[in-house]
Amino acid sequence: MRLLAFLLLLALGLPAHAETIAITNARLMDGERDEAGMTIVMADGKIASVSRGGVAPSGARVVDAGGRPVTPSLAAAATQIGIVGMGSAANTRDEAVSSGPAGAGFAVAPGVDLNDLTIQEARAQGVVSAMVYPDAGNGVFAGTAALLRLDRTGNPVRNANAAVFAVPRGKNAGGSRGAAWALIRNALDEAKRPASAANAPRDDLLNPLDIAALRPVVAGRTPIAIVANREADIRQAIELSRDYGIRVVVVGGAEAWRVADALATSGVGVILDPLDELPFTYDTVGARRDNAAILAKAGVPIAFMVSAQAIYLSYDLGPALREGAGISAANGLSRADALRAITSAPARVWTGKASPGIAVGGAGDVVVWDGDPLEPSSAPAHVFVGGRELSKVTRQTRLRDRYHPSRSGDPLPPAYR
């Protein structure tokens, strides 16, 4: 009978769906509610039911959360997992171009290495969705970001043209922000021209690659990220969204709190670093720890990226997002908003539509935590992606087990463990 079912599946070419899983006694925290005693049932990769005190369906694998918090999986609004590789090994790094013709037309997607250890770590730490963005090179356009889904089904890239990143730095435009903004605006103007005229005039500054990347931006289908911290640049970003009627997202935004109302009015979202509080550069003199709280209160869509001089940004993605959310919650942001900023809000900031969280029919992307997810000391107890539980084994846990103090008396050296 089992063999028959197997052959049937094989014949139909259907994926063997995950078992039905019931998480019971969960404290469900998804940024909308915080309720104890919940049962979450996942079947066919999706959330089948969410109920208070619900009984697990017969045959389901029961995971008793024991009252511990259960949240949607984490979402990184801006990171570079999969393209930074081993930091000092240039041939593993694919996050930036510093020469050659590619500007906006440089897409990071083909360079994403699904086997990169940064992806392995992020997934084990409960991150499922990640916007992977290009770093600034020499031009005012860094390139095109990719949206990843870390579900272990092959290529994690779900949208290879998820956002175009612009960098209004003076040094990337010959020495002045004025020139940088002129080039950004000119690029959008060129991309707005009809396709037939796109490559005709000899004085166009963009090549066909860049034009192709920017067309969906001016059509309002793809957001443009402005990487900026200084208030004046953030004001320029707001004007850009108004003048072109396009979706703009500020990435950085250390001084965004100073323009909170204008950001809210224009619908420009901000992806900020909750750890910012130092005048690390002259662009972040106005950094403060309650930036997120001020923006949220004004109604600005926010999400988080946590850098720590780029160490946390990709190498400690999951824990760093939670630490950032915790710090923002300790500095005036509501717990719900803090949790949203690392789960459902990144999609809202980028696309205008938040991801559904733990809702019937949504993907079975759920994490059971061993403590408060906003505490940096907590960690995932179970990670479910598409309704399947992920193995917790990573290269780091293999090293941990190999060198665990309990093994110190082993007769054979570590290489044999």
Binding site: L278, Q309, Y312, G326, P405
Partner: protein
């Protein structure tokens, strides 16, 4: 002769390592070099204070609910204090008190914020024109108005070491300061704290095209420099023999400044701090330094220290680590979050360190993460143990364990009153005391120091 000196040096450092914490005056610890300048630091205005009913992590492994009495800048008693005299009573029930936090690895003032302008505008991190900068003292490049000091203070950090960077194998002398911003470095210098000596192994100190271009070249360079320092000590010993005892100034003044500094390290007067990531490198450096009678005090970064935890414990070498840095370069490829916990389990002295300013105000969370990783690996790391990783263990690394890092009678009253459990992201320092004086008060703007740089900046309207 060499062996005798080596043994003296070893005795000095062993004595420092095994000292009891309760009696400030009966301890043998590294004495400052004779050429070390005096401190001009003066405690802020203070009053005797009794903190009542706090949860106290004493930094020595103890946890209790009770009172702490501070008088004349020192801890007088803790537990149930019956007679507090005229001390001001502060209700600390529901709050936690720990020793002031200590950060053994910062570049404050020598890599100043904002990092704008040309490199020489903000970076004096190390003299990297050769492989041996033992004659340089980082304090000569420190700008005390770096805004990072006040952020660290607000994060509960009361003492920091500023080290030269890792671009050369012998980086020069370190300086230990309080986090109360001042106009000159001398006004921040921790009185009587020994300077340290910074060294660096591995990638950062490898040169392209000039010596040393390899790890083995670094060791050759190290041996050469230490050999010369030993010769200086031998010459001095010879002069002593001719003149009778007490002839030379011992460790400072006479001789080539590079050799003088390295001789100070051999004599145990300069705690040695080594930037080093890989287990194999760390083991090599411990062995080579030992050949010349230098005891490695603390290995910094040490992402692979967990692989040689028993060695570090046996040699009495401390490790200053992050909880979660890995992967950003090959030397850091094998970093794991359990590093600190595994070291602790082996009996090694371990501590957190920041290295970058954004982490300088988050040391409590760094320790929280490292301890939690250890607990998940099955190790018993209660708060009273984890707090040592940011208090008494770094105090030991700096040779200051008889002064700070522990709440005990006679110790400096460097304290943090936390709004709650210091290992929770939701807790904050309400009060930070240095030498019994309130250096930071979360509720009082007039007790929150601010750098000259940040003063009057339009972007900061509404923050101040």
């Amino acid at each position: 002769m060499k062996r005798a000196l080596r043994q003296i040096a070893l005795c000095l450092t062993l004595a420092a390592a095994s000292g009891q914490l309760s009696a400030q005056d009966n301890i043998s610890r590294p004495q400052p070099m004779p050429d070390a300048p005096a401190s001009e630091y003066r405690p802020l205005p203070r009053q005797d204070t009794l903190f009542v009913g706090a949860t106290i992590l004493d930094g020595a492994g103890g946890k209790l609910v009770g009172d702490v009495l501070v008088r004349d800048g020192r801890i007088v008693s803790l537990g149930k204090v019956a007679d507090a005299g005229n001390a001001v009573r502060i209700d600390a029930s529901g709050r936690w008190i720990t020793p002031g936090l200590i950060d053994v690895h910062t570049h404050y003032g020598s890599f100043i914020l904002p990092q704008g302008g040309s490199r020489e505008d903000y970076s004096d991190i190390v003299e990297n024109s050769g492989l041996n900068a033992a004659n340089t003292w980082v304090e000569h490049g420190v700008r005390p108005s770096d805004p990072a000091f006040s952020r660290a203070l607000a994060g509960g950090v009361t003492t920091v070491q500023i080290l030269p960077g890792s671009g050369v194998i012998i980086g020069g002398r370190t300086v230990v300061v309080h986090t109360i911003p001042a106009v000159t470095l001398a006004q921040m210098r921790f009185p009587g704290a020994p300077q340290g000596l910074k060294m660096a192994c591995g990638n950062n100190a490898v040169e392209q095209g000039s010596f040393p271009t390899s790890r083995q070249g670094q060791i050759a360079g190290l041996r050469h420099a230490l050999h010369e320092a030993r010769e200086l000590l031998d010459r001095r010993a010879g002069e002593d023999g001719k003149r009778g005892k007490g002839g030379h100034r011992g460790g400072g003044g006479s001789g080539d400044p590079k050799e003088v500094t390295l001789a100070g390290a051999i004599e145990g007067k300069l705690p040695v701090h080594l930037h080093c990531y890989r287990a194999d490198d760390i083991a090599t450096w411990i062995a080579v330094l030992e050949e010349y009678g230098v005891k490695l005090g603390t290995v910094h970064h040490a992402v692979e220290a967990y692989k040689i935890a028993p060695l570090l414990a046996r040699k009495g070498v401390c490790a200053a680590v992050w909880p979660d840095w890995w992967g950003f370069k090959r030397e850091a490829e094998d970093g794991i979050p359990e590093n600190a916990a595994f070291l602790d389990a082996a009996g090694a002295c371990v501590m957190m360190h920041s290295d970058i300013p954004v982490l300088g105000s988050l040391l409590n969370l760094e320790a929280a993460k490292a301890a939690a990783a250890g607990r998940r690996a099955g190790l018993d790391i209660p708060p009273e143990k984890a707090i040592r990783w940011i208090t008494s263990n770094p105090a030991k690394s700096l040779g200051l364990e008889d002064r700070v890092g522990t709440i005990a009678p006679g110790m400096n009253a460097d304290l943090v009153v936390w709004s709650g459990d210091p290992f929770s992201v939701f807790s904050k320092p309400d009060l930070v005391l240095i030498d019994g004086a309130v250096a930071y008060d979360r509720a009082q703007r007039t007790r929150q120091p601010q750098s000259d740089f940040e003063l009057g900046q339009p972007q900061r309207e509404g923050i101040e």
